[in-house]
Symmetry: C2
Subunit: 220 residues, 2 copies
DNA sequence: AAGGCCGTGTGACCTAGGTCACAGAACCGG
DNA sequence: CCGGTTCTGTGACCTAGGTCACACGGCCTT
């Protein structure tokens, strides 16, 4: 766990004494948007999706995190309520570290504070990327970006991606609806950028894929 | 300046020796998206707009900051390039603090690290709000939100807002185009939520304004 | 094997958002 | 006070994105 990796044994022991464990089944919520934040949650095992739901019922996924990640640094440090809801995608165990404990630790151990600054910084970057996707890119390009990010580097012709998400889940990540994801897939396929068989996507034209992911509209 | 408010005089002196000053005229860039980040910028005076521009030429403003604010914490801590470009809206002076200096300070003075955690946390919250605006809200509601945020609390009938931005600038903040902002204004006016005279907006129906800002579509 | 429940593909439609063009108002510098 | 630039309002369009409905194919359970 990156935040606490730098700590000596006695600190860790101290910390462990003050943590509690929470176990969640698939679909259960770790916290809900708006709820006050009493501490930091560290995922020990499983997978959690952080997302908002609009009054109209649309869902926007902000990020998903697995073992080692922490959730809720935002509200922890600015004192507000949770920004979004977190639900388990699979059976999950999470450690709860009380707020005061985290704050003291940041005082006492600068390395911890720096580690948190780093992840918060990454989160800012990630959010900025979502904003520019939503503001600037058509959904087919967002899909291209997603595929490009999912494929192993270096990207070469014929490389395959195993889809782990349903189209509905993908849609919530891309900020759109299921049907448009289906059409975007067809579009990429028609133009020869990818091909598909069952839940596997094959990259046919890596150069064009990266161009589209960059937002280069000439690549169509 | 909140980050360094806690520092004793000798630390401040030490810091001051290592800072450099940058002066910018209106429209000049403090940094550009993608550029590597060598330190923290603290606005001493003026006003700076942080934004991205798409290949198609659309602009999305992430935030604007005035005296006392710092820019570039994101790239500073995660080591990447600048996430967006920053341009001066007015003649501006900014202090440049070299990266190593900031990092050492965070190690030495936990209060500095905590202050930065707080502002980074706020930034995350702010970005999340932009994402949900773009993903969920029609532009008239985004405008309602903007007005609601700009008016003095408690919001009462007849309260006035002096518009400091042109509609084009507003559009870039709301993630849309000038014409739609103009129409959104007319829409709010027709429905009796606001009225306008020159660059002044008067709140006619505060309850409805907040309802719209919340995204309650029944309020139309 | 049959029935159910996903997940997927697609056609028909609707609507918000965006583009283009232009006219009038406000504003500014000489 | 004039001539320009900048800002604003609006009508006519176009298009991406979103909704609805429905059919098809798996896959799991009974």
């Amino acid at each position: 766990m990156p935040y606490f990796a730098s700590l000596p044994l006695n600190e860790l022991r101290h910390l462990a004494e003050r943590c509690t464990v929470r176990r969640l089944g698939r679909g259960e919520a770790l916290f809900e948007e708006g709820e006050p934040c009493r501490g930091l949650l560290v995922i020990a095992d499983g997978r959690v999706e952080v997302r908002q739901i609009s009054l109209r019922g649309r869902e926007q996924v902000f990020h998903t995190d697995g073992p080692g990640a922490a959730l809720g640094e935002g509200p922890l440090f600015d004192g507000g309520g949770y920004i979004a809801s977190a639900v388990a995608l699979a059976p999950t165990q999470a450690l709860f570290v009380p707020r005061a404990e985290v704050l003291q630790l940041c005082q006492r151990r600068p390395a911890v504070a720096l580690a948190m600054l780093r992840t918060l910084a990454r989160r800012v970057r990630h959010f900025a990327a979502i904003v520019s996707d939503l503001a600037f890119r058509p959904v087919a390009e967002r899909l291209a970006r997603h595929l490009e990010a999912a494929v192993a580097r270096p990207i070469k012709r014929g490389a395959g991606i195993e889809l782990t998400l349903t189209q509905a889940q993908l849609a919530a990540r891309l900020g759109t609806v299921r049907e448009l994801v289906a059409r975007a897939f067809s579009q990429l396929e028609e133009r020869g950028v990818i091909s598909r068989e069952r839940s596997r996507v094959i990259i046919r034209d890596p150069a064009r894929l990266t161009a589209l992911a960059r937002g280069d509209e000439d690549a169509w």
